[in-house]
């Protein structure tokens, strides 16, 4: 399934708009990861524990977006965007959203 951040896909025509589609996930590192990140933040630099957590949250949210678009009968998602927020002190919310469409010809 094609997921793009643009409104149009060159060589294809949007023949049907299925509607908005979302993929939401809230993730947290465990106490061990948070401890390591806390110690690492004392000296600065990249906090690998949280980089990895957000990278996996991105994948997770996109997977859910694609899964939801599939059940809506779409074959592509256009205008996809990510948004993020913090919940509590150690939880991170990532949402992927876009417009589920049917492209012709299919990708």
């Amino acid at each position: 399934m094609l997921v793009v951040t643009t409104e149009n896909v060159p060589g294809h025509q949007v023949v049907q708009v299925k509607g908005q589609v979302f993929g939401v996930v809230v993730r947290s590192r465990g106490i061990g990861g948070n401890m390591m990140a806390g110690i690492r933040s004392l000296v600065g630099g990249e906090i690998h524990e949280y980089t990895q957590m957000l990278e996996e949250a991105r994948r997770h949210a996109l997977d859910r977006l694609v899964s939801n678009a599939k059940v809506m009968g779409a074959n592509a998602v256009v205008m996809m965007r990510f948004d993020s927020a913090e919940i509590g002190q150690t939880m991170s919310e990532i949402v992927a959203y876009g417009t589920a469409v049917v492209l012709d010809p299919p990708t």
Partner: protein, 102 residues
């Protein structure tokens, strides 16, 4: 490296708790040593945060290559994304270093 240091620190705290319990020396610190040691060792050991580990086997023939590629920040390996059109699932596969763009 950091996890090893924290494991070692937790182990030392637990060892200190054991010594305190057996010898009675600094027995007043026993709860703190035990709690601190268990927090470090168990907290590091049971952390569950991995999501969908990267696959090292080839893709299923019915999966479609999305063309999406990224370098996994954890492993530093080039990863390809495949889509299963039947189930609507995406799969992450480590691809050979030979195809990594230079």
């Amino acid at each position: 490296m950091l996890p090893i240091i924290l494991y070692a620190l937790g182990g030392l705290l637990l060892l200190g708790a054991l010594v305190a319990a057996l010898t009675g020396v600094m027995v007043a610190l026993l709860p703190q040593l035990l709690f601190g040691g268990l927090l470090l060792v168990v907290g590091l050991a049971i952390e569950r945060w991995r999501y969908k580990p990267l696959l090292r086997t080839g893709p299923d023939p019915r999966w479609k290559d999305t063309g999406e590629r990224f370098v996994d920040p954890g492993s530093g390996q080039l990863t390809a994304v495949y889509f299963d059109p039947l189930r609507g699932e995406r799969h992450y596969i480590v691809i050979d270093d030979q195809v990594r763009p230079r």
